[in-house]
């Protein structure tokens, strides 16, 4: 298959494409097959080889670990640490507000604190916590060995850690942003100091990591389920992961696009939000809240997912209305994108527009209600045992219902005009977020802790923590409804004593310290030394799902063998399941090559497709994260050269990492996966998890690009002077040349893939080289098209947004070019062959999206302004 001489011999007619091996053998396995015993000695040998392959590095090398059980714990503990820090900020604010006209904090300090409290709770706690817990739990729930891209998880974690310390650390130096977690321009575009830059760059950095995690979680859910776990048997948690991953993909990119524009204005004075030069501050509000509202559900749904795992265990029966809960997760996911303007009800948009969002905000109550009633229904038909985690879930439901009911009120625009930006909102959002996030997550920690750390948390401390937090929470936030109705606006560092807000605030402050006490009890329970404590039972709550098939004491391999699943609750329904699992009677019970492997299955019916080799411990994720961090952090201080160098090193590190660890030619085309099944060891295209990862990433990327194009249309509708009368437009010939060159670059990449498959490797290389040259030409032509004296991006928003589109597109073409060259190099190095062409498939997929981006940019830059 890698024979060069075939090129010449078959030149006259196009040869057949090389086919890839298919799975061979029986599936699904019969009961008799599953009952075949395994020789205990063989099983022990297999286990030893697995242990070796999955060995976690020790000593200082421990930090190079990438296993989901390690990264997930670091991730969640870091997020929890950031939460405690943000909580301290909240306590300090409550002290300042305890009495009227207090001078405990200066206005500047207070404003920094509330900005960082919100930003950290959202970006450093709530969303990362979902990702952390999912990275930790998802493979266990799915009986998989690990996530599909362990190094990507590690990279995401290190990005999060660096970015989080950078953003939160700014508080200690008094340079933290002070414009609110929503960073509205012009206040924040015009603010002096580093604050807004720290916020924009630091959090963009973390958002990139969040998207990386979302990609991985989606691929993990879709492609790494155990054989037989069809879509209708997935644990509900996985359904939520799928929905939330999809939401992150469409919600975060608009904010990244907004950050991009915002930072261009701060660094280079491109006037996107400056009304003096045709900009509009409202564009930011749209982009921010298109992110910001789905984000609330991105936080809420995973926590409900945790509840969906605990409720059946507490009710001691399967969940009631599985389909209904899937409906509500998917429905909420969709509807949550139609709510963003309810954060902008007071901005003077036309009533009709407000009405749509008011309507959608009411409609989203319906799937949310279904969700809650499905839980209640499960409890009704079950024989409930109030285990400690269930206590937290019950508290969560009580608190969240109250927040949901005030949400129904707030969705009415006229009522919203009264209470918007008051303490009523502060109360509402804390009811939804504590009820919809903090309580379920802590409940989840109590529930899943034995599966993660093999010890139980304290029942007594857990109850203390619950009642302190629950009581304190209501003492703090229930009075705030009234404080807001009595007219107290949010984000005020002081207030007069004669309006009737004083006693309410004092009560809230006292309550806040009770909450803090409750959280501290929990934190202590979490970190207190447990060395003397006996190991927990394997299935202490008697749960029915796969995470309770974990090994006690812990094993790094995830599962001894990847199970064949035929029920939603295999541990309840499938007698003998655990014995078979432990004996290695299911799939890939062995690691003869000493490689880390997991099984990839089809998306809907989970038929085994492929044994995926996944990456092991490495320093490259950490190094890449450090350099990526440099590329994001240095521009804060206007060190653009250093940022560029750091960025180049980041790209180099990632290339090294991909080259050395991904899509490697296997030692044999197929391997024995157990139970008589032979599976391919290398797949490319839509069967490969990597292809899905690129596809999903590019969906998110396309959303960010669409947000920029939305910006163009927004300016057109919102501003009479867009484009300004008599404005110079981009050079049409150069735009046309760019469009042509880039379309050809796409065509040659696609052609290279097809020729390579047909073993015409030399022709494929020529096309790849030509494609790279065309991409470079396209970059040049695009820049030339707008590099006109009349199109100075600082002069007006019109040239600025055109430039922004070009910069965005050029950066992407640059990435496409690097990918072409990477494939070319792979072809020469023999890691990309006619059969082993995953890199080329992924590159082509990237170029499919890229060519659309390029053509849209060409149309919007070259044609649209002439038509408007």
């Amino acid at each position: 298959m890698t024979d060069h001489s075939r090129d010449a011999g078959l030149a006259r007619r196009l040869p057949e494409a090389v086919t890839q091996p298919e799975p061979v053998g029986p599936f699904p396995p019969t009961d008799e097959m599953l009952a075949v015993p395994v020789d205990p000695a063989l099983s022990r040998e297999q286990a030893d080889r697995l242990k070796q392959a999955w060995h976690t590095p020790q000593g200082w090398r421990y930090l190079s670990a990438v296993n989901n059980t390690e990264v997930g714990v670091w991730y969640s503990m870091t997020a929890f640490g950031f939460m405690l820090a943000a909580g301290v900020l909240a306590l300090l604010m409550r002290v300042q507000l305890a009495v009227p006209e207090n001078d405990f904090l200066s206005a500047e300090r207070f404003n920094q604190f509330f900005t960082m409290h919100g930003s950290a709770m959202m970006f450093l706690f709530a969303v990362p916590m979902f990702e952390a817990i999912s990275i930790l739990l998802l493979p266990a729930l799915l009986g998989a060995r690990d996530m599909p891209f362990p190094r990507l998880s590690a990279y995401g974690y290190w990005c999060f850690l660096i970015g989080g310390f950078f953003v939160l650390g700014s508080v200690l130096f008094g340079v933290a942003p002070e414009g609110g977690w929503f960073m509205y321009p012009p206040l924040s575009t015009e603010a002096e100091g580093l604050g807004p830059d720290i916020w924009l760059l630091g959090l963009s950095f973390i958002e990139v990591a969040s998207i990386a995690a979302a990609v991985e979680l989606i691929v993990g859910t879709v492609k790494c389920r155990p054989p037989g776990m069809r879509i209708n048997l997935m644990p509900l948690y996985a359904w939520y992961v799928l929905v939330v991953g999809g939401m992150i993909l469409f919600a975060f990119p608009p904010l990244i696009a907004g950050d991009f524009l915002f930072e261009l204005q701060r660094s280079f004075d491109w006037p996107f939000f400056d009304p003096e030069r045709g900009g509009d501050p409202l564009l930011w509000q749209h982009l921010f809240w298109i992110f910001g509202h789905p984000e609330v559900y991105i936080i809420f749904l995973p926590s409900i997912a945790v509840a969906a795992m605990i409720v059946p265990t507490a009710a001691r029966r399967p969940i009631m209305g599985y389909s209904w809960i899937v409906l509500s997760a998917v429905g909420t996911g969709f509807l949550s994108f139609g709510l963003w303007v309810h954060h902008m009800f007071t901005t003077g948009l036309p009533m009709l527009s407000l009405g749509f969002f008011s309507a959608a905000s009411e409609a989203v109550v319906i799937p949310t209600g279904v969700q809650l009633f499905a839980f209640v229904a499960t409890l009704i038909v079950g024989r409930v045992k109030i285990i400690l985690p269930m206590l937290w879930i019950a508290g969560a439901l009580a608190v969240f219902t109250a927040g949901g009911l005030t949400g129904v009120m707030l969705a009415l625009a006229p009522f919203n005009w009264q209470v918007h930006d008051t303490y009523f909102i502060v109360a509402h959002l804390h009811y939804t977020l504590f009820g919809g996030m903090v309580f379920p997550i802590i409940g989840g920690v109590y529930y899943f802790y034995p599966s993660i750390r093999k010890k139980k948390l304290s029942e007594r401390l857990g109850r203390w923590s619950f009642w302190l937090t629950f009581t304190g929470f209501n003492i703090t936030f229930l009075p705030m409804h009234l404080t807001g109705l009595k007219g107290m606006p949010r984000r005020v560092f002081t207030y007069p004593g004669d309006i009737g807000w004083d006693w309410l605030n004092l009560v809230s402050t006292l309550g806040a310290f009770v909450v803090a006490a409750g959280i501290l009890v929990f934190a202590w329970d979490l970190v207190r030394p447990k060395g003397h404590q006996p190991l927990a039972a394997r299935n202490p709550w008697n749960g029915g799902t796969l995470e309770w098939s974990h090994d006690v004491p812990a094993q790094a391999w995830g599962v001894r063998s990847v199970p064949y699943v035929r029920s939603r609750y295999p541990l309840w329904d499938d007698p003998g399941f655990l014995e078979r699992l432990d004996a290695g009677r299911f799939y890939i019970p062995d690691a003869p090559e000493g490689l880390r492997e997991t099984i990839v299955t089809s998306a809907i019916d989970a038929r085994p497709q492929h044994v995926a080799r996944i990456t092991g411990p490495s320093w490259s994720p950490m190094v890449a994260a450090v350099f990526t961090g440099g590329a994001f952090i240095f521009p804060t201080f206007k060190w653009y050269l250093a940022a560029g160098i750091s960025g180049a090193f980041a790209v180099a590190t990632v290339i090294y990492w991909l080259w050395t660890a991904t899509a490697r030619v296997p030692e044999a085309p197929t391997k024995d996966a157990g139970l008589g099944l032979r599976l391919p060891t290398y797949v490319s295209g839509p069967k490969a998890p990597g292809w899905w990862a690129v596809f999903i990433t590019m969906l998110g990327d396309a959303t960010a690009f669409a947000s920029l194009v939305f910006g163009v249309f927004f300016y057109w509708t919102a501003r009479p002077d867009f484009p300004p009368a008599g404005a110079e437009h981009a050079d049409l010939r150069a735009v046309a040349a760019a469009a042509a060159a880039l379309t050809l670059a796409w065509a040659t990449t696609l052609g290279a893939r097809e020729l390579n498959r047909r073993t015409l490797r030399r022709a494929a290389r020529i096309l790849l080289g030509a494609g790279a040259a065309l991409a470079a030409a396209g970059i040049a032509a695009l820049i030339l098209a707008v590099r006109l004296p009349e199109m100075d991006p600082t002069s007006h928003v019109y040239p600025a947004i055109m430039w922004a589109l070009v910069v965005w597109t050029v950066a992407h073409i640059g990435a496409g070019l690097i990918m072409q060259l990477y494939c070319l190099a792979g072809s020469f190095a023999g890691r990309l062959t006619p059969r082993h062409d995953a890199d080329l498939w992924n590159t082509t997929l990237f170029w499919h999206f890229l060519v659309v981006t390029c053509l849209v940019t060409a149309a919007v830059v070259g044609l649209l302004p002439r038509a408007l």
Binding site: N111, P281, G348, E362, L379, I380, L397, N416, P489, I499
Partner: protein, 325 residues
């Protein structure tokens, strides 16, 4: 008022809802409608909350044995889909139909309000008038009719809100937003900026005075006149200090050479209920403190401090400004 009665019934202390900045103590048509809507919604919310959580307690604590699947399914379909769909449709329709009423165009007076850092520029334009009457930091409206408010901002976004009269609307640089208010009960209320606008966001308030239509007409006529000449010796000396110190480059006092427009118009300063945008009382002492060091009172304020003037000259200035009725 029914809303007041509801408040009395639900909250032990009636005082809990009162206040000159309270949504639940309305003095305008829109605020009254919303206060009443709130009490209805609160009642409904409390009932629903008790039902859901009562059910939770019942099935998990009181009756732990399994109940029928049929009842549970009915609960999901009825409680999850049918009931909320109907209830929310009714509520939504009411909210939507109320919107055009609250945003109806004003019928007589129009006031242009501009948000500054951190004070309010007010320009009154009675029906048919050509030039506005310029004032600052206090909104006066006639009772019984709907007045139009046209809102703008310099530099950063603010939000204009008088809870006792009605909802808020943002003030956005580069845009003109609008709202309208229909005050019903004469009295003194308080408004405050509701959108975070920087250091002294907390200190950006204003007095809102609702007057009988006749009294309002008289007030506006007076507000349109030039400043009263200083009546006392001290005030005359104060005016000299005012002009000599260059206060007029930022502030206007009509009828004097002071014609600055950077800061608030002071022509009838002493006629307002508060000083420094709702932060200080309108007293000589407060005037002195403010002029000596505005940033001590309002962090980041644009006005420079004049503590170099010394106590004696600050007294004179205060005497002059106090006379600007």
């Amino acid at each position: 008022m029914r809303a007041g009665l509801a408040c009395l019934a639900l909250v032990p202390a009636l005082a809990a809802c009162e206040g000159r900045q309270s949504v639940l103590d309305p003095a305008g048509r829109d605020a009254a409608v919303m206060a009443e809507l709130f009490w209805w919604m609160l009642g409904g919310a409390v009932i629903l909350w008790l039902l859901v959580n009562g059910l939770m307690v019942y099935v998990s604590r009181l009756n732990r044995d399994a109940l029928s699947v049929r009842a549970a399914t009915l609960l999901v379909v009825g409680g999850g889909i049918v009931f909320p769909t109907v209830l929310l449709a009714v509520l939504l329709s009411y909210g939507l139909s109320e919107m055009p009423r609250q945003l109806a165009p004003g019928t007589g007076l129009s006031v242009r309000v501009t948000g500054e850092l951190w004070w309010w520029r007010m320009e009154y334009l009675p029906e048919g008038a050509e030039t506005p009457v310029i004032s600052a930091n206090e909104l006066r409206l006639p009772a019984g009719s709907r007045s139009e408010l046209r809102l703008g901002a310099n530099e950063v976004i603010h939000s204009f809100w008088v809870p006792a009269l009605g909802g808020k609307t943002d003030m956005i640089p580069g845009r003109e937003t609008r709202m309208s208010l229909e005050p019903l009960e004469p009295g003194e209320y308080r408004g405050q900026c509701a959108e975070f606008c920087g250091d002294s966001h907390a200190l950006m308030a204003f007095g809102a005075v609702v007057m009988e239509p006749e009294a309002f007409r008289e007030w506006l006529e007076h507000e349109a006149t030039d400043a009263a000449p200083p009546a006392t010796e001290a005030a005359r000396a104060g005016r000299a200090v005012f002009l000599a110190e260059g206060c007029g480059s930022c502030h206007t006092v009509r009828g004097t050479p002071a014609d600055g427009t950077i800061g608030p118009d002071l022509t009838h300063l002493a006629g307002r209920t508060t000083l420094a945008a709702g932060v200080l009382p309108m007293t000589a002492d407060a005037l002195k403190r403010w002029i000596a060091d505005p940033r001590a009172i309002k962090p980041g304020a644009r006005m420079p401090g004049f503590d170099h003037l010394g106590d004696a000259r600050l007294d004179l200035l205060a005497a002059y400004l106090e006379g600007l009725e």
